[in-house]
């Protein structure tokens, strides 16, 4: 990565990595179609190809019927689903998720996690940052980071024990699935 120039880095982000953010980061004055279209525009796909990918991605997250809606017309969970659709539309090999359920209530969070797990099962590697030990426990690998330093590395998924909850919740956990 260090040796790559700006164009090459942008291309790498665009083609290989999908991003999901805690606060969704949808563009408010673009409808769902156009929001999902953003990374595809930089990819140089033909219009017909983009349209198919956008419809597929929104279908995958269950929002086909809301394609002309604007983000403000959706719930938080739905917005995060759009962000996932945007991340998936370019068929990336890696999905990076920064606390994807941090701004959602537990019901919506569960729905988003189930969607991510399904994406993962279909072959996409997901790197997720979370403070929530329950979510971390659903990952196949956990890496604990404190102040930028890796402090623990767990190879197998497991549920956290009660006495570690407080500690895990206050430290950022890096859950690596794949």
């Amino acid at each position: 990565m260090r040796g790559l120039n700006d164009n090459a880095r942008s291309k790498l982000r665009n083609e290989k990595i999908g991003f999901i953010f805690q606060s969704f980061n949808l563009i408010p004055d673009l409808n769902l179609f156009d929001n999902v279209d953003v990374p595809l525009r930089y990819r140089g796909f033909a219009a017909s190809d983009r349209k198919k990918r956008i419809e597929d991605a929104l279908g995958r997250v269950g929002l086909s019927s809301r394609i002309k809606h604007y983000p403000s017309e959706l719930s938080g969970g739905q917005q995060q689903r759009v962000a996932i659709a945007r991340a998936l539309a370019g068929s990336p090999r890696l999905l990076m998720a920064d606390e994807p359920t941090g701004n959602l209530d537990s019901l919506m969070a569960r729905g988003v996690m189930e969607l991510l797990e399904e994406v993962n099962r279909q072959g996409t590697t997901i790197v997720m940052v979370t403070h929530d030990p329950e979510l971390a426990a659903r990952a196949q690998r956990n890496v604990h980071v404190i102040d930028g330093q890796v402090t623990d590395f767990e190879e197998t998924p497991r549920l956290r024990e009660p006495d570690r909850h407080a500690h895990a919740a206050s430290d950022p956990s890096l859950a690596i699935q794949g």
């Binding site: 004055d29 945007r86 370019g90």
Partner: protein, 434 residues
């Protein structure tokens, strides 16, 4: 991608309407001030007869006093004497030629409901019409035979025909000027002359001529010019002494249809003055000039220094408006840092971001251009109302419409370069915390 960026630019105009409005109005004001003055300057100096401006020549002969030049910079006089005008006409060396001068005459209408009035017209040979090509609504010019016959014929301008005959075809009727009846042979249509380039000596932006009278007829009637008349010594008493004097009061124009003909005519003029020198005239060094229409307009400063200064000041105001626009664009793009970071994270290169935001600046410029065009139109209406001498040149033409829009876009893009460069520097991680 261009259409995508254009869509984003248009959408962005709606996102911060107040900021957008401030920018658009700022650019529009600067553009309107610049284009109002520039339009006047452009039309003042534009070629009034582009299809033959390089074939029509003003003739200058330096017959002035040996004690002092006519102009300090050595240019010969703008007008010629009756003697020289007559000699050049008699020689007939050009493809077409005419001396001319301005004449004021009282008009005595037959219709008792129209009161007598003073009209300003032009005395010329019939070649005038073939050379300067005024459009005719009715009839046509008198012919060369009528020049020779000193015929009492006349061509009326559109306005005077409207006044005397209600705009009807008056060919064949008569009109009385200063107690003499003239038979009307033609009536001009709407002659859209921006500058009266054939008589800059008497004012480039004076009213159009109201009538045209044969030169020979006017000389028969001993008509003196009511335009400029300059003498470096007393002409003596009486009409004949005046005609024989070195007083200059006529504009001399010739049509020369090829460069070879121009060279021949220049040589003819030099030979003519050489002969006159033998007769004791033309004491100054040989200084005869032929200036085509564009050269003549430049030499006579049809575009005045004042107009040039006003245009410069207006462009300085545009620069101030652009500096203001730079600040507003900076504020707008800074507010969009989150979206820029997001786009960068999703794969936009710096070049993509630069292109998007420079096009957004251009869209602001385009909007400012349309509003500026409207304000320029209002500015020109104000110029026509305040300065009647500019009423023929204070109009937008298609060239200036295009220049207005392009200037607005170019100005906004120029103003957008720094804010756009700053937008390109936005780091995705700084905005998105990943």
């Amino acid at each position: 991608m261009l259409s995508y960026y254009l869509q984003l630019g248009l959408r962005s105009l709606r996102r911060n309407p107040v900021l957008t409005l401030l920018m658009v109005v700022g650019i529009a004001l600067g553009i309107a001030a610049s284009m109002t003055t520039m339009t006047v300057m452009h039309l003042m100096g534009s070629d009034p007869i582009p299809w033959k401006s390089d074939k029509l020549f003003a003739v200058q002969l330096d017959n002035w006093s040996e004690d002092e030049p006519f102009y300090d910079d050595g240019r010969p006089p703008d007008q010629v004497t009756y003697r020289d005008a007559s000699a050049l006409m008699e020689a007939g060396k050009a493809d077409r030629q005419t001396p001319m001068f301005k004449l004021s005459q009282p008009v005595q209408p037959e219709n008792p409901e129209v009161k007598p009035f003073q009209a300003l017209g032009r005395v010329a040979y019939s070649d005038f019409f073939g050379m300067f090509e005024p459009p005719f609504a009715f009839g046509g010019p008198w012919d060369r035979q009528q020049d020779v016959q000193h015929a009492r014929v006349i061509v009326l301008g559109k306005d005077i025909n409207e006044k005397l005959f209600g705009g009807q075809d008056s060919v064949g009727k008569t009109v009385r000027l200063n107690g003499i009846d003239y038979s009307i042979v033609g009536v001009l249509g709407d002659w859209k002359l921006r500058a009266k380039y054939y008589d800059l000596t008497n004012g480039a932006f004076n009213d159009p001529d109201e009538f045209f009278m044969p030169y020979t007829t006017a000389m028969d009637l001993k008509q003196r010019s009511t335009g400029n008349n300059s003498c470096f010594r007393s002409p003596g008493d009486g009409w004949d002494a005046y005609l024989d004097s070195d007083c200059i009061w006529q504009q001399m124009w010739v049509q020369l249809d090829s460069p070879a003909r121009v060279a021949e005519y220049q040589s003819f003029l030099d030979n003519y003055v050489g002969e006159q020198k033998k007769l004791g005239r033309f004491p100054r060094p040989l200084n005869n000039r032929l200036s085509d229409v564009k050269q003549w307009m430049a030499e006579q400063r049809v575009v005045s220094r004042d107009v040039e200064v006003q245009t410069g000041l207006a462009f300085a105001f545009l620069v101030v408006c652009l500096v203001n626009t730079i600040g507003l664009l900076l504020a707008k793009f800074t507010r969009q840092a989150g979206e820029i970071g997001l786009r960068r994270a999703l794969g936009a290169s710096r070049r993509d971001v630069f292109t998007q935001y420079i096009i957004e600046s251009a869209v602001v410029g385009l909007s400012g251009g349309f509003l500026g065009l409207l304000l320029t139109g209002l500015g020109l209406i104000a110029v026509r109302a305040l300065y009647s001498q500019y009423r023929t040149v204070a109009h937008l033409d298609w060239t200036m419409v295009a220049v207005t829009i392009l200037l607005a876009i170019a100005s906004a893009v120029l103003a957008g370069i720094y804010p756009t460069w700053r937008a390109c520097r936005v780091q995705p991680a700084a905005q998105l915390k990943i």
